[in-house]
Symmetry: C2
Subunit: 125 residues, 2 copies
């Protein structure tokens, strides 16, 4: 996100930092807010993160926790989250094959972000 880079920041755009990326006039992938929203984008994404905040899970365990989520979309989400540096994928050797997913330290830091989203949505307007 963003705001003007001059003047009395805290009076015009409370809480937003003074950063060049804060002055864009077009949605820009390098904007920190866009980066975070891209990581959270898509149906099911926050539910997958919620599961992983409770501890590591295998592909099948995630499917069991979220039965209505198709494996195609689960696969998409995990790839997206791995790409964003949120989850760590560990393919365990042997048969049947098993892949273990867990949050990275960066992923665990999404906890407060989800909390902020929860807090706003939980409060009556």
């Amino acid at each position: 996100m963003t705001h003007q880079t001059v003047g009395h920041r805290h009076t015009t755009s409370p809480g937003l930092p003074d950063d060049p990326r804060a002055a864009v006039t077009v949605p820009t992938p390098s904007c920190p807010v866009e980066i975070t929203l891209a990581a959270l984008r898509g149906r099911w994404t926050t539910l997958v993160i919620r599961e992983l905040l409770q501890g590591g899970r295998t592909f099948t365990e995630l499917r069991q926790a979220l039965p209505a989520l198709s494996d195609k979309v689960l696969s998409d989400r995990l790839a997206q989250l791995a790409e964003a540096g949120v989850v760590d994928r560990r393919r365990e050797p042997g048969w049947p094959s098993r892949t273990h997913y867990g949050l990275t330290p960066h992923g665990r830091r999404l906890g407060p972000v989800l909390q902020a989203l929860w807090d706003w949505g939980a409060r009556p307007s």
Copy 2:
């Protein structure tokens, strides 16, 4: 967002509140996290909010601040944000007609949410 409702909450899902809505297994519109993400959803939305965090704006002022944003999408976004209780629309009488948009108190509370999104995205993974 959500997490289990039993056990040692803060060790399994740090920061997420103990609420029935925290146990859903399907993306649910009444989940507070979904509510917030729905308000922020769509290209340009956070940039429009950024503009309004700096003060009220008319339709034309918003278009000037975000020149690459088409008036159709701007109109869509403002309707979505009004629906979400984020912005307040005041049609000023007279000619030429003029509509003034400003954040509601609830909308202003998105400041910390955007800050949390910024902070996570600004931090190296």
